[in-house]
Amino acid sequence: MPTQTAAEHELATLIVEALNLEGIDPAQIDPQAALFGGELGLDSIDALEIALAVSKRYGMQLRSDHPDNQRIFSSLHALSAHIEQERTA
């Protein structure tokens, strides 16, 4: 079982709820695995849903013009780290 931090687990739960990913246990999402195109098979419209859910829950915007977008959306770990960083900034 992959080890998630508390923040990663909360985000994984949010993603599973927002995208209505049936049959997927948030705790089973590997923080280092690719979010898009990988096992979860998420796409750019899912990314938008995630961004909207994140903005609602955490009150922060994931911006289209962020130079590190590719890295930020690469994995649960990267996305969670970015959100934590932005929230405390």
């Binding site: 209505n20 898009f36 750019s44 938008l48 289209s64």
Partner: protein
């Protein structure tokens, strides 16, 4: 005959397009319109695939075999709208008569402040919309385009109107940045325009009837609309001959709802309605259909089904 439109080459080299743009601006539209007859004839003779696609479309539309003359007229109509893009970008609507209908519906949607998704097709000229949007700079308009599809044309046309180039959301970059940019524009109360009739390779498509036979349409635009929950307005800029264009707006939906549990049915309903509107405009202006490839993709009909990742549509 199954060549995908994305594999089709751009009609002209960078040098020849550059020459065309310069000549068009120097010699004026009246002179260039005369040149469009030999140019259309040249493409008619040289481009067998486009010729075949045109004949196929016109035959379905008219319900009887299309003549070579009709095909030539079709290619000529396309050539003129391509030429007019140069003038529309360089001088805006000046020199054209643009008849606008349905503007109140669009304005009502804009007034809600949620943003608007403008959905068009490869019929007529979308450039008319861009030219007209210069009238109200307070409402930003961004257009989803694949800059990689026609790099030479894109580059040269953007040189004519740099601000138009900046307003493009380049779909070829792909991924998250594209959908987020669409959402940001809507959130700012702006308009995002895209064309929803061509499916890109590896895009998720569904077949609905169009001119009597099922044709594949991309589902991406409608999933995007459903996620954004913004009003969707259809937009068509049809060329009417001479200096005339008719720009029509019609409210398609206050919001598109695509529930997860009945996704396919709801998508098919939406696509069906969209295809019917395309058919309506095709019958109104038969020679404004600018999908010069095998739109129905008959040979692939049998093999379609495995779900491709959804990608974002382009204009």
């Amino acid at each position: 005959m199954s060549a995908h439109w994305q594999q089709q080459r751009e009609g002209g080299s960078r040098a020849s397009i550059n020459f065309m743009v310069n000549t068009a601006l120097r010699c004026g539209r009246a002179f260039m319109l005369c040149c469009m007859y030999p140019i259309a004839l040249y493409y008619f003779l040289r481009r067998a695939a486009e010729r075949r696609a045109s004949r196929d479309y016109l035959t379905r539309l008219f319900g009887r075999p299309a003549s070579a003359w009709q095909v030539l007229r079709h290619i000529h109509c396309f050539s003129v709208t391509m030429l007019d893009r140069i003038y529309l970008l360089a001088h805006g609507e000046q020199g054209f008569e643009i008849e606008v209908s349905g503007l109140e519906q669009l304005q009502q949607c804009i007034a809600q402040g949620r943003g608007v998704l403008l959905v068009g097709s490869h019929q007529g000229s979308f450039e008319v919309l861009r030219a007209l949007s210069a009238r109200c700079p307070e409402v930003p308009l961004r257009v989803l385009l694949d800059k990689q599809k026609t790099p030479a044309i894109t580059e040269l046309l953007e040189a004519l109107a740099p601000e138009v180039g900046e307003a493009v959301i380049d779909v070829s970059q792909g991924g998250t940045a594209v959908t987020l940019a669409v959402a940001e524009t809507c959130k700012a109360g702006g308009m995002v325009a895209l064309l929803a009739d061509r499916g890109r390779a590896h895009e998720s498509l569904r077949r609905v009837p169009f001119l009597g036979e099922a044709a594949p349409f991309p589902i991406g635009p409608w999933l995007l609309a459903s996620t954004l929950q913004v009003p969707v307005v259809l937009c068509f800029g049809m060329y009417r001959g001479g200096r005339r264009y008719a720009l029509s707006f019609e409210l398609f939906a206050e919001r598109v709802e695509i529930a997860r549990d009945s996704r396919h049915e709801m998508l098919d309903q939406v696509l069906h309605r969209y295809a019917q509107r395309l058919e309506h405009y095709a019958r109104l202006e038969p020679y404004n259909w600018f999908n010069f490839y095998d739109f129905w993709q008959q040979d692939e009909a049998a093999t379609m089904a495995p779900p491709h990742p959804r990608t974002v549509p382009e204009a």
